[in-house]
């Protein structure tokens, strides 16, 4: 069963315990200065953002059919059956196409490293395998971030929306966005008001490039026959002309 994370913006108090736990898990330095940064970066793989009195969390969405994994020329990014999208730094050649392609602008780069890697949340993959919750979920004091099976979390989110219809904007973000993600959001206000991109297609992104890529065999076969045919005809015409001592 694929795992997921549910983030409930209405429960979040902005304590940033998730940020600290995440930094600790990645062995990244974390202090007040880092805590004050609102953007994802090579030293901050999840971040709490403030929108007035509301909070929102940014982290890798772990798409069901991720753009990053589909564009990676070396297959360094992979969607695992367990849910997390994981990254193999040993394969990565640093083309940064994943960063360009990600609809959530999640992958970040070690710009100042001489042997740089891409960085992003991997949903604590090794903890997931062991059946443990992610570091951020374990650290969250209010239950704003919970970790579990995706189906169960969707049911939980629906229950919360139904139980307190007045407190929630009646939709779950991540159910269909970009073909569905393994990080789900619920909130009191429409999602664009807490910084989420709401103009995304419900189709998985990789379909966009695959439509073109899947034509490659046709181009090769039709092209070869066509060019070969043209060559044969034009060449033959010249040959005949030469033999008959015609124009040439």
């Amino acid at each position: 069963m694929p795992k997921a994370i549910l983030y409930d913006s209405t429960l979040c108090v902005g304590c940033k315990a998730c940020e600290g736990a995440c930094a600790e898990r990645w062995r990244l330095p974390y202090d007040d200065k880092v805590a004050a940064e609102s953007r994802l970066s090579a030293h901050k793989l999840t971040t709490i953002q403030t929108f007035g009195e509301r909070y929102s969390r940014r982290l890798c969405m772990h798409c069901a059919d991720p753009a990053c994994a589909s564009v990676c020329p070396v297959g360094a990014l992979q969607k695992t059956a367990l849910g997390p999208v994981v990254y193999d730094a040993g394969k990565c050649m640093g083309c940064r196409y994943c960063m360009l392609a990600c609809p959530f602008q999640v992958p970040v780069y070690e710009w100042h490293n001489r042997l740089p890697k891409v960085r992003k949340c991997d949903m604590c993959y090794e903890r997931q395998i062991a059946g443990k919750p992610t570091a951020c979920a374990a650290a969250c004091p209010t239950g704003a971030t919970v970790c579990g099976e995706r189906e169960a979390l969707i049911a939980e989110a629906r229950r919360r929306l139904a139980e307190k219809p007045g407190d929630y904007y009646q939709r779950i973000y991540g159910l269909k966005e970009a073909g569905g993600t393994s990080v789900l959001y619920i909130s009191a206000v429409p999602f664009e008001q807490i910084g989420l991109r709401t103009n995304l297609s419900q189709q998985p992104m990789p379909a966009l490039t695959w439509r073109a890529l899947s034509l490659v065999p046709d181009v090769v076969s039709v092209g070869t026959v066509l060019l070969g045919g043209v060559w044969w005809i034009t060449n033959r015409r010249d040959e005949v002309a030469r033999k008959e001592g015609g124009r040439q």
Partner: protein, 393 residues
């Protein structure tokens, strides 16, 4: 003669200055990493090294496969005199693209990874394979010039034997990756401005590459006619220009048809940078399209050259719009290349011109050189620039 020497010295000075700046930028790149030599960031991961060096570089080298198809597959033999320079341009172009890629990749030591670690769902994987194979094909297509120079008969015979399949493979590979460079951007509908984002990106990239391939062939015929004191092959250049006019018109027609179908034409009413850049791009392609339909312009070397230059700039504008300016708003950021990015780019272009010159002087690239070589050894770096009138009207 004095004036001529003075000009050559200026060019040489510029060349040395560019190479020095490029070398220094290269040192900084290796020593301090991408972050300190580029203005790229997490919001804007691809800059002019991709937008110009790669996208424009590959496109500007398209004359190679276009002329191979014209001369050897469609058997229009009269274009043969300008085939070899076109193949040389393409070969050097691809080598320089690979060089530029070594700057841009975070881990250039792993440039070979896509060849062994496959992801057939990735457009870039396909491009990597096509570019690798096609660079090999170009090397083999240019090899006869080297073997002729060295007088190696046996390998020449082998190459002749495989030449036709090799050329067909070359054209197919080019078709694939010229269009795929456009497909790279199919995955960013949320970032690329609607004047450029269209499912037809691969088709537009392909057709515009052929256009600029023809324009580059005219451009380089003109330049080499001056640099090497040869006559411009005007009937050939004019013939290419005629095809170019038809292709450009078709391209622009389909481009606007697509904008209309997607309802993107209304965007042209908005007063924003993208609108003006789009206008510039279209103007640079539409003007030569109209002009080149007129015989008196096609048969005038100066005007023909000006049209070719316009097409080249229009093409560059298009690629930069897709890869840089059209991506800014959607990425929520601004990007101006750092001096080091510009220095690397310019020094790579300069290197291209210089290597072309040296190779053309030492190998049988131009038709009459093959005969003339024996009589008159090449006077290095001192071509009779104004000695021969550039082409006859």
């Amino acid at each position: 003669m004095k004036r001529l020497l003075a000009r050559l010295t200026i060019w040489r000075t510029i060349f040395v200055a560019l190479m020095a700046a490029g070398a220094f930028a290269a040192y900084l790149r290796v020593r301090y990493g991408l972050g300190s030599v580029t203005n790229l960031n997490d919001q804007f991961p691809w800059g002019i090294w991709i937008g110009f060096d790669i996208l424009c570089g590959v496109g500007l080298a398209a004359g190679g496969f276009t002329l191979v198809a014209v001369v050897h597959i469609f058997n229009i033999e009269r274009y043969k005199p300008i085939l070899r320079p076109a193949i040389l341009t393409a070969f050097l172009g691809y080598l320089l693209v690979i060089l530029a890629l070594l700057f841009d990749l975070g881990r250039p030591d792993r440039i070979w990874h896509p060849l062994v670690m496959w992801n057939p769902h990735s457009v870039m994987f396909e491009v990597a394979w096509c570019v690798t194979l096609y660079t090999t094909v170009l090397a083999l297509e240019f090899a006869p010039a080297v073997f002729e120079r060295l007088g190696w008969k046996t390998p020449l015979g082998w190459l002749k034997f495989v030449s036709v399949p090799l050329m067909i493979v070359g054209v197919i590979l080019s078709t694939l990756h010229q269009s795929s460079l456009g497909s790279l951007y199919l995955i960013v509908p949320h970032k690329l401005y609607a004047l450029w984002y269209t499912p037809l990106l691969p088709v537009f990239f392909y057709v515009s590459a052929i256009c600029v391939g023809l324009a580059m062939t005219i451009f380089e015929s003109w330049h080499s006619s001056r640099a090497f004191g040869r006559e411009l092959e005007l009937p050939l250049a004019a013939g290419l220009a005629r095809v170019l006019a038809v292709l450009l018109t078709t391209f622009l027609f389909v481009r606007f048809l697509d904008l209309h179908d997607r309802g993107a034409l209304t965007l042209l009413r908005e007063n924003r940078t993208e609108t003006w850049l789009f206008g510039l791009e279209i103007l640079l392609l539409a003007a030569p399209a109209v002009l080149l339909f007129q015989g008196r312009i096609r048969w005038n070397p100066g005007k023909l050259y000006a049209c070719a230059v316009m097409v080249i700039f229009g093409f560059i504008a298009n690629r930069l719009n897709v890869s840089v300016t059209g991506m800014e708003a959607g990425s929520g950021t601004h990007y101006i290349p750092k001096w080091t990015e510009v220095a690397v780019t310019l020094s790579i272009v300069a290197l291209g011109f210089a290597v072309f010159r040296v190779v053309a002087q030492n190998f049988p690239v131009f038709e009459e050189r093959r005969a003339a070589r024996v009589r008159q050894p090449v006077a290095r770096e001192a071509p009779a620039d104004d000695g021969v009138p550039a082409g006859v009207g």
